[in-house]
């Protein structure tokens, strides 16, 4: 936090500044946040408070709303579908985040090595899925992973393996969705991790290799501890993204087959499409509690040695 020096001290003995500022220092921050606050209050805070109120009513989109207290929350906490959607998100998290962190760190470490050729090509290649519109990507996924006509099963045919119902069997739908998410976002995580790696002073590695530490040893004892905060940032960012994941299953699988890809984010949308707005609102605040809890857990876990 920056403590500001009072204007008197800055001006010192030189008297008044040449130009009289038209914006007094005490008022300036309020003017600066004003455009943001106007938009933020009108289109984020107000809907958020509206949703909070909604979560204690049985409103279905029209007519009068009845106050039902904590009923919506109680209903959800005793509902298998709600827990099922959280479990689906948790399984997807397990399929995505650990793989992404390991793969992301590995690629970032390699790209940070000046001996590797074509580094800018790789950076672009890994970010291409990230910048591609999700609607387009999802459609490509649907076509490529189609059981009868898809390119992936075409490849399996070539090597003599049987076709797989990638998006049509509950066993494979989750991994296929996880793969889509990994493919789409890993490039961004690589760049974030690369930013952490580049702030490590080279002399640390130099000292380590003089001491005879192997590269693997250096990765574990130097790189990982020093980019811990960047790793933490990535994990929290992706935890938020995985538990809120909505658009991917919405476009690719619509939650099926047999709800195997109904993520927490998609499940709360289902309340909304059924017109059960109160329950949907309660569901989203429960989701906030889950996500906040997980984030704090990771922050704590990765901060232990600070």
């Amino acid at each position: 936090m920056s403590t500001l020096v009072s204007p008197e001290r800055v001006r010192g003995g030189q008297g008044r500044p040449l130009l009289r500022p038209w914006l007094p220092r005490k008022v300036a921050p309020y003017v600066f946040v004003l455009p943001f606050v106007a938009i933020f209050v009108a289109f984020s805070v107000y809907p958020m408070l509206f949703t909070l109120r909604l979560s204690f009513t049985d409103w279905r989109g029209s007519g009068a709303a009845t106050w039902v207290g904590w009923d919506n929350y109680a209903y959800l906490l005793g509902n298998d579908m709600f827990w099922g959607s959280l479990a689906n998100s948790a399984v997807l998290w397990l399929m995505i985040v650990p793989v992404q962190v390991v793969l992301g760190l590995l690629v970032a470490v390699l790209l940070n090595n000046a001996k590797i050729r074509m580094r800018s090509f790789y950076r672009i290649a890994f970010l291409v899925p990230f910048v591609t519109p999700l609607v387009a990507v999802a459609q490509i996924w649907v076509v490529v992973f189609d059981q009868e006509f898809g390119a992936v099963n075409g490849l399996l045919d070539l090597v003599g393996l049987p076709d797989v119902g990638w998006l049509t069997t509950s066993a494979w739908a989750k991994p296929t969705l996880a793969l889509l998410f990994l493919w789409k976002t890993t490039g961004f995580i690589v760049i974030i991790l690369l930013s952490g790696l580049q702030s490590i002073d080279a002399s640390v590695y130099e000292a380590a290799s003089i001491d005879g530490a192997s590269r693997t040893r250096q990765l574990w004892s130097i790189t990982v501890p020093l980019v811990r905060r960047t790793l933490m940032f990535s994990v929290v960012l992706q935890t938020l993204a995985v538990f809120q994941m909505f658009a991917e299953p919405f476009v690719v699988t619509d939650g099926g087959p047999y709800n195997s890809t109904t993520t927490a984010g998609l499940h709360l949308y289902e309340h909304i499409t059924r017109g059960d707005l109160g329950t949907g609102a309660a569901n989203s605040f429960l989701l906030v509690v889950v996500v906040m809890g997980l984030s704090l857990l990771f922050v704590r876990f990765l901060r232990t040695e600070d």
Binding site: V10, L19, L111, F121
Partner: protein, 310 residues
């Protein structure tokens, strides 16, 4: 700006060690195979990342029936523009591009001006209400955006804004992540720099435009690319708030077309829709890909400059 407080063990850094900066020295005997292995690993992974997009770009030029019957084959003599021709005839993609462009320019300008300005106030001033306001920003970061859609839609109806540009532009124009990121970046700008400008008689707003903005330019470029990308790719809110044919953005056009693939469009078979869809997807991703490749240095450097400290 992303200085770490890494323990500097012994001695000073010479110019020569700076060259070795990005590459930790490796033990020589295993050096060669390891380098080849790394290179091969990266190359295979990169090809896997590019393959689906490349496949879509190429397949869009194949006859629709061949995309289905022979997804991996490529018959150069049979290449055709038929998918594109049909797609242009069936969906208002030109109008989609136009609407996306309007939203991109207006919403992008608002974000790129308001977010750093507010972030500057959060990072460099103390004022009553600051922490409460910033706390609220962090909470909205954690709230699934889907849940705000119903109240927002009711708000749009009350304002008479359904199917208007306002509805596409204003909600989410200054998103929480932009504020969060820019605050992080501006906090790293040394206070001495700002105070020096103040002594020279620079006004508070002048400090922002003449000192802060130029100093954070790399991160700002990163934010610009990210913002363009998010606006261009957004589809959930546009589908809900402005789905009329006149207002449909590119992504709305695309997702409407995608719904046809389930086969509920009269007189359209799976192959035809798939062909049109791949053509539409290609044409939607090419502009962004071009922008990204042209600006990727700024984007990547922006994130490298402005991300969290190691």
């Amino acid at each position: 700006m992303t200085t770490t407080h890494a323990p500097t063990p012994s001695g000073t850094r010479s110019a020569r060690t700076r060259v070795a900066a990005t590459r930790p020295p490796r033990p020589s005997p295993r050096g060669l195979p390891a380098a080849v292995g790394s290179q091969a690993f990266l190359l295979l992974l990169a090809l896997a990342f590019l393959a689906p997009v490349a496949w879509a770009l190429v397949s869009a030029f194949k006859p629709a029936t061949q995309i289905i019957s022979d997804p991996l084959g490529l018959d150069l003599t049979a290449l055709t523009l038929e998918n594109y021709r049909r797609m242009f005839a069936d969906v208002p993609i030109g109008q989609g591009f136009l609407n996306t462009a309007v939203v991109l320019v207006t919403k992008g300008t608002i974000t790129l001006f308001c977010a750093p300005l507010a972030a500057y106030a959060f990072a460099k001033y103390r004022f009553p209400g600051r922490d409460l306001l910033f706390g609220t920003v962090l909470i909205t970061l954690m709230l699934p955006t889907i849940v705000l859609i119903i109240p927002l839609l009711l708000e749009m109806k009350a304002l008479g804004w359904v199917n208007t540009y306002q509805a596409l532009v204003l909600p989410g124009a200054v998103d929480a992540f932009a504020i969060f990121w820019m605050r992080q970046v501006i906090a790293d700008v040394p206070d001495e720099l700002l105070d020096a400008a103040r002594v020279d008689g620079c006004g508070e707003f002048g400090i922002f435009t003449r000192i802060v903005l130029p100093v954070i330019r790399p991160a700002l470029a990163g934010l610009a690319v990210l913002t363009v990308m998010n606006i261009y790719n957004d589809f959930v809110w546009p589908v809900v708030a402005a789905s009329s044919e006149r207002m449909a953005t590119l992504q709305v056009v695309l997702s409407t077309l995608a719904q046809n693939i389930t086969g509920n469009r009269v007189g359209a078979d799976y192959a035809t829709v798939t062909g049109e869809l791949l053509a539409a997807a290609s044409i939607a991703l090419v502009p962004l890909l071009v922008v990204f490749i042209a600006l990727q240095r700024h984007f990547i450097n922006g994130i490298l400059a402005g991300s969290v400290k190691g």
